[in-house]
Amino acid sequence: TLPTTTDKNERFVIDEITREKDATTYNNFYEFGLSKSDPAENAHTLKTEPWTLEIGGLCEVQGKLDLQNLVNGINVEERIYRMRCVEAWSMIIPWMGFKLADLIKMCKPLSSAKYVYFETLYDPKQMPGQNGRSIPWPYREGLRMDEAMNELTLMAVGMYGKELPNQNGAPLRLVVPWKYGFKGIKSIVKMKFLDQQPVNSWQAIAPQEYGFYANVNPEVDHPRWSQATERRITGGFSLFNSRIDTQMFNGYGDYVADLYNGMDLTRYY
């Protein structure tokens, strides 16, 4: 359960948010089926309590963390972020979560740790989609250490003032608002510190289409479709909302552009 008091972070407020109904019935979560309506229908089989997060790799504090204990002892706040999917649609979602940086500090990573790696639960009984072979399970993601420590990077445990619905990645998911949504790995059970860049799931499936960085970038198109514009899914009937321009780093350049100084973003997409 969430802490009883959760502060709104006034620096991350956006007026028009996506309807809760839309954000909770339109999900890419292949562990529960390939269509976007599947997760909301099937994810009830996931048991989210109790939940343990395993910490490992290049850090001093290792072992299993009980999520409830973690949440009780860490600052959870509400932040409204834009979420841009690599499929060129976007939402605006009020998340509740804690800074990944706060968790990382607790783990005391060694100086040799350059990357953080995450894994989703692997349990085909709870996640029937894992019986199929659409993705080499479990789902994997990773961030460079400075990206993980960035103040925007959130570990979400709730949305719309409630606990995370299972289809949205309960009980613990990553939110990296300047990157495409697939970086936001769901139902995380493992976090590891590495000295080598890990291969994330979509990069493993189609490396020419999905990279490790996956920064929102209107100038670097997906090989099969343009990333210059997006369909914003907000409140109300959006049939006659045509596309809006996609912003560099999803509009979070002030916070993160420095991380990529001197990097060729067409190569490191």
Partner: protein, 205 residues
């Protein structure tokens, strides 16, 4: 036979309108998912492809059953294929792109799945225009050749579907498989007819 045919045609007409009516009904009730444009694109595209495959099924059905009824239904099926493909194109250009023509032309040139989709629609256009009885009579043999481009359309349609999916190609592969089976039937049937004609000729000489 004539009254029977009219009834079958009327029933088929109504049946083929069902997907369209469902889009409208779901739209009014806010049941087109969080991304209604994407949902309408998906449904119209899928129905266009499905009806195209049903259109292509008519000749085999006629051969197998010997009933000419199926051939009489072909035009309506073909026109509905075109109707859903046109809806698909219209929703994409108007609702999705907001009539941004620069974006449209960039898509058509740079995105192979859109290129082949557009090509498929362009090939269907003259077929739709020449589908009436008057044009059939007027064009004669040329009409037949023109309407054989349907075989190209099925290939382009399947390619369009295959190239746009993100990871799991099972669904487009099923459609492609059905399309190939229907084409294969024609090749085998054509060879068979040719052989029979040859045998008939040699026995006459």
């Amino acid at each position: 036979m004539n009254r029977y045919l009219t009834a079958v045609k009327a029933a088929l007409f109504l049946l083929l309108l069902v997907p369209f009516v469902l889009i409208i009904l779901d739209g009014v009730q806010d049941n087109l998912t969080a991304d209604p444009i994407e949902e309408i694109l998906h449904r119209t595209g899928l129905w266009s492809l499905r009806i195209l495959l049903i259109t292509l099924l008519m000749t085999p059905l006629k051969v197998l059953t010997g009933s000419a009824l199926f051939i009489r239904l072909r035009r309506m099926l073909g026109l509905f294929t075109f109707f859903y493909a046109s809806m698909h194109l219209l929703v994409y250009v108007w609702l999705d792109l907001g009539l941004d023509w620069a974006h449209f032309f960039e898509d058509v040139i740079e995105r192979p799945y859109i290129t082949v989709g557009m090509l498929a629609w362009l090939l269907m256009l003259p077929m739709a225009i020449t589908s009436n009885r008057h044009m059939v009579r007027k064009l004669g043999q040329k009409w037949k050749r023109l309407h054989q481009s349907i075989y190209l359309v099925i290939g382009l349609g399947c390619l369009h579907f295959l190239w746009l999916v993100k990871s799991d190609v099972t669904e487009p592969l099923i459609y492609t498989g059905i399309g190939l089976t229907l084409l294969l039937f024609r090749i085998i049937h054509h060879k068979h007819v040719q052989r029979k004609a040859r045998i008939a000729q040699s026995s006459r000489s």
